[in-house]
């Protein structure tokens, strides 16, 4: 053990032990490429990692506890703070879980708008992933390019709900607003340019020597390991398991749109990178189809269920009974039936699940957030040993973990 006040060199982050030549490196929690507050205790032999201990909890806010002390609608903006890169997908998962619990039927226009939000969020998340991972590995240009495109999407979301990062754009029972006038035209303009942009990124990265060195055959996750660690999303599909919840257990309108699920059996960083790029193209394909669906929908945006959902604003402002009901729902909150539900959705990071145990009260009795990044961080324990220090950054990059979600 090092003594800080002895006359030997004292390094805050490094412990030397001469006997077995092992070096313990403390990576994080404030490391710029730890993608948040990840602390890794790495046991090293020279540059090679022999043991890795991810240490999390630096962003723990106790969201599950908070949920037990909030009415259901109050919790919606809190879900934004989980995966804050694609916050609408968190909103959606929660809204869907409560809707399944109550048994609500959401109007078609709301579904179409939700689909648009979900897929724009997926694009935003993937662009952000590409930008930060490329930056970690040293590709500054890709970072700037991808952030430029992401900025357009954030502007679009801002046009829709006023917020850029924490959207809270989905309500239990529907969506709060219809699309603004220019939304579809702007989205189309963006989508028309997207293939060109993705090609730019790929031209810069696909055959880039540094990129390939950090990506190819690095961080190989076998199929068994991915399944055993509860991996989902791209982490699972890159390891040869064809499982996309949008396809296998379709929710919303995913059974009406055509898209394919890119799969790879390589399991390495490069495979994950290719899947993210392919998924962006698929999202664009879905968005084109959803834009066409929008035209034929009726004007309703929220489900009609007076016991649980407030009436439309116009009714609240003109009809006494709607106003009373709205007042009760806002002050006391809706009381879903007694029962429990687990709903999984495919968020950009993987399987985002909400388990809700309702005892018929205005507050959930227990709410468990199943965030994909939690296990994608856990897998580092088994994945990192054998790799070298420079690979750590690229492996953390391609796991696409977000700490709002890991720590909740």
């Amino acid at each position: 053990m090092q003594q800080a006040n002895r006359l030997r060199p004292f390094f805050e982050n490094i412990t030397f032990d001469r006997d077995d030549n092992e070096l313990i490196l403390n990576f994080g929690p404030q490391h710029p490429s730890a993608h948040g507050q990840l602390r890794l205790m790495l046991h090293l032999q020279q540059e090679q990692i022999t043991k890795a201990h991810p240490d999390i909890g630096y962003l723990h806010r106790g969201m599950e506890k908070m949920a037990e002390n909030m009415i259901y609608n109050e919790f919606m903006p809190t879900t934004d703070r989980m995966d804050y890169i694609a916050s609408s997908s968190n909103n959606y998962g929660f809204a869907l879980a409560v809707e399944e619990l109550i048994g609500l039927d959401v109007p078609r226009r709301a579904k179409v708008i939700r689909m648009m939000l979900l897929e724009t969020n997926r694009l935003m998340s993937h662009l952000f992933w590409l930008a930060t991972t490329a930056l970690d590995i040293g590709a500054m240009t890709v970072f700037l390019f991808a952030f430029r495109e992401r900025e357009y999407l954030m502007d679009l979301i801002e046009d829709y709900c006023g917020a850029r990062l924490t959207h809270a754009a989905i309500r239990i029972g529907g969506v709060p607003l219809d699309l603004p006038d220019n939304f579809i035209a702007d989205l189309r303009k963006f989508l028309d340019k997207l293939p060109e942009n993705i090609k730019d990124y790929e031209d810069l990265l696909d055959t880039n020597r540094i990129w390939l060195m950090r990506m190819e055959n690095v961080g190989v996750i076998s199929k068994e390991m991915a399944l055993s660690w509860g991996c989902s999303g791209v982490m699972l599909r890159a390891s040869g398991v064809e499982w996309d919840i949008r396809k296998e257990e379709p929710y919303e309108l995913y059974d009406e749109v055509e898209f394919s699920v890119p799969v790879s059996d390589k399991g390495d960083n490069y495979a994950r990178y290719k899947l993210y790029m392919a998924e962006m193209r698929e999202s664009a394909k879905i968005l084109y189809q959803v834009i066409d669906m929008y035209e034929g929908t009726g004007p309703e945006l929220m489900a009609h269920a007076p016991q649980y959902i407030s009436a439309p604003k116009i009714d609240i402002m003109t009809q006494n009974y709607s106003l009373m009901q709205h007042f009760v729902l806002v002050t006391q909150g809706m009381r879903p039936p007694v029962g429990e539900v687990y709903v999984a959705t495919e968020s950009p990071k993987g399987e985002l699940g909400y388990y809700i145990n309702s005892q018929g009260g205005a507050y959930p009795y227990r709410l468990k957030l199943r965030a994909p990044s939690f296990w994608h961080t856990g897998i580092l324990t088994d994945l990192l040993p054998g790799h070298y220090i420079p690979d750590v950054v690229s492996i953390i990059g391609t796991t696409n973990i977000v700490f709002g979600e890991v720590d909740r």
Partner: protein, 268 residues
């Protein structure tokens, strides 16, 4: 007299509930309605005691004895093709029954089905670890221990995961207050400055919504700015708004609708 507050459940309660309110139930249907689930249940029943089984919101719920948890999940993994353990955690029923309910959320990718296996244990009882079957259980069980204090047998690394290692109390229990207990409010003060600094620093404010309207050091008073540290408990000085046009503060200008530009279309 102070209103009675129960000590065994300090979570927020609705301030008003209609005395005739009867909560409806989420429909439970019989397992025989789904052939896949029925076959799975038969396979489990052949080897283990099943206390209850039903289908709720498209998923089967199987209630078993806590001592069978490893066996049932092993059976489901090896014979029934449930290849992923998506989630596991506990529910605190200590106030009503003195028990924890533990649920395992299983997913079968080949059958596209999800089953929730549940069991109950006493507060002091421990439960078998599943981390040798599914590596994902490793972290989930640590989280369950961290949040509820449910002790796991045969776990490779039984340590807190989200809270600090030296934390006292289990945050997700119903007896644990939302803002934290007394230990929590002194934790950082003790850790950073030492116990002897308690009197100087005082307990940590753990209510993020607390606002002190007389505190001019820590709270901004938009539109009513006063110099930092001013005592305003006895009334406050006027803060006039001054604009650049009137030889006031540089950079603060009056809004002029004529001169402002409205951007109608961003060039995308």
């Amino acid at each position: 007299m102070r209103a009675y507050t129960p000590k065994d459940d300090v979570q927020k309660k609705p301030y008003y509930t209609d005395r005739y309110w009867v909560a409806p139930q989420v429909a439970k249907s019989d397992v025989s309605e789904d052939a896949v689930f029925a076959a799975d249940l038969e396979a489990i029943k052949a080897k283990f005691e099943v206390l209850d089984a039903y289908i709720q919101v498209k998923q089967m719920v199987v209630v078993i004895n806590a001592r069978d948890n490893f066996g049932v999940i092993e059976l489901m993994k090896n014979e029934l093709e449930y290849n992923q353990l998506s989630e596991l955690s506990a529910i605190d029923w200590l106030a009503s029954e003195g028990k924890f309910e533990i649920f395992y959320q299983m997913l079968s990718m080949s059958k596209r089905k999800r089953i929730r296996v549940k069991c109950k244990i006493d507060e002091k009882e421990s439960i078998q670890s599943l981390s040798s079957l599914f590596r994902s259980a490793d972290w989930s069980e640590r989280e369950m221990y961290d949040m509820f204090g449910v002790v796991i047998n045969n776990h490779p690394f039984m340590k807190r995961i989200l809270m600090p290692d030296d934390w006292e109390g289990f945050p997700l229990r119903k007896t644990y207050p939302l803002q934290g207990d007394e230990f929590a409010q002194w934790y950082e003060v003790d850790k950073i400055f030492g116990k002897e600094a308690r009197e100087i620093i005082g307990p940590e404010n753990r209510d993020p919504a607390r606002v002190d309207r007389y505190d001019t050091e820590r709270f901004a008073r938009l539109g009513h700015e006063v110099p930092r540290g001013t005592d305003i408990s006895q009334g406050e000085p006027d803060t006039p708004l001054v604009y650049q046009e009137e030889d006031g503060v540089f950079l603060i200008q009056k809004f002029d609708a004529e001169k402002s530009v409205v951007i109608s279309d961003r060039d995308r």
